[in-house]
């Protein structure tokens, strides 16, 4: 099983992503509502995969990606954000994210994005 941490300031989005993992090869080990909480949860649970919102209070997603990369550059980060401009996507990828999914999204798009991200990993 791969370990997933969900980072989003919306409880609805966190629960939506969590529900979508039921019966999959991914286990949700932590959730966080901002970048600061995410760093603390990351240290505790060492997830393999992180879904990351960008617009969040306290510490935004771009800064959080930078910090997570310092802790473990092998972490697979999928950005899930409403910020749909190319420059933001490119910036997130430069900081270390491996994929980008634009909100609004459905389960199928999320499943495909996570599959693409984790393909080839030993589960």
């Amino acid at each position: 099983m791969l370990k997933l941490m969900i980072v989003d300031d919306s409880n609805i989005i966190r629960r939506k992503i969590e529900r979508a993992q039921q019966g999959s090869h991914i286990q949700v080990v932590a959730t966080a509502r901002n970048g600061n909480d995410a760093l603390a949860e990351f240290k505790k649970h060492q997830p393999d995969v992180v879904t990351m919102d960008l617009t969040m209070p306290e510490m935004d997603g771009i800064e959080c990606i930078e910090e997570l990369m310092k802790l473990n550059p092998e972490t697979l980060i999928l950005v899930i954000s409403a910020l749909s401009d190319k420059a933001t996507g490119i910036e997130a990828l430069h900081k270390g994210a491996r994929g980008f999914l634009c909100k609004p999204f459905d389960e199928e798009k999320l499943g495909n994005a996570l599959k693409e991200l984790t393909e080839g990993l030993h589960v």
């Binding site: 609805i12 910020l83 749909s84 401009d85 910036e91 609004p104």
Partner: protein, 150 residues
């Protein structure tokens, strides 16, 4: 504000509701209102905008629509906390998606949610805002665009 600018937000509303299980959303003809009487339903999610455009974008909806929309998104918990979360998330998604047209200089804030009283929504009194009426199922809501360009 140009018709093309308004269309960006109209497209964003349609895109949002297309991702629910009850896809059909109808939008009314946008109209102008004075900012000293902002339109609001039970809950309003407000996104502050800075950069070349300044002001705010907000999504305002009645309780009943939000409850139904939560269920339509697969969320069984329809309490106040999730309604507040949802109205902010809709505003955030519509505003964030606008960056595909306006670019990353269209800076948006995290959502601020207000309940009920329209006088909690502070808009520049000298300006007017565009209201885009939203009709989903049997409910009415609105997206309000209050932006000036620099």
């Amino acid at each position: 504000m140009s018709e093309a600018t308004l269309q960006v937000f109209i497209d964003g509303v349609v895109r949002y509701f297309e991702h629910t299980s009850d896809k059909e959303v109808k939008l009314g003809t946008p109209y102008l209102i004075d900012n000293n009487a902002p339109a609001a339903f039970d809950y309003t999610g407000i996104i502050g905008v800075s950069g070349p455009y300044r002001g705010c974008v907000y999504f305002t909806a009645p309780r009943a629509l939000l409850r139904h929309l939560l269920l339509s998104l697969g969320e069984p918990e329809t309490g106040t906390e999730n309604m507040i979360d949802l109205v902010g998330e809709v505003a955030n998604t519509i505003s964030g998606n606008a960056r595909s047209e306006f670019g990353n200089e269209f800076m948006i804030s995290v959502p601020v949610v207000v309940q009920g009283a329209p006088d909690s929504i502070h808009l520049p009194k000298s300006l007017r805002s565009y209201v885009i009426p939203v009709y989903w199922k049997a409910y009415s809501a609105a997206v309000v665009i209050s932006l000036t360009s620099y």
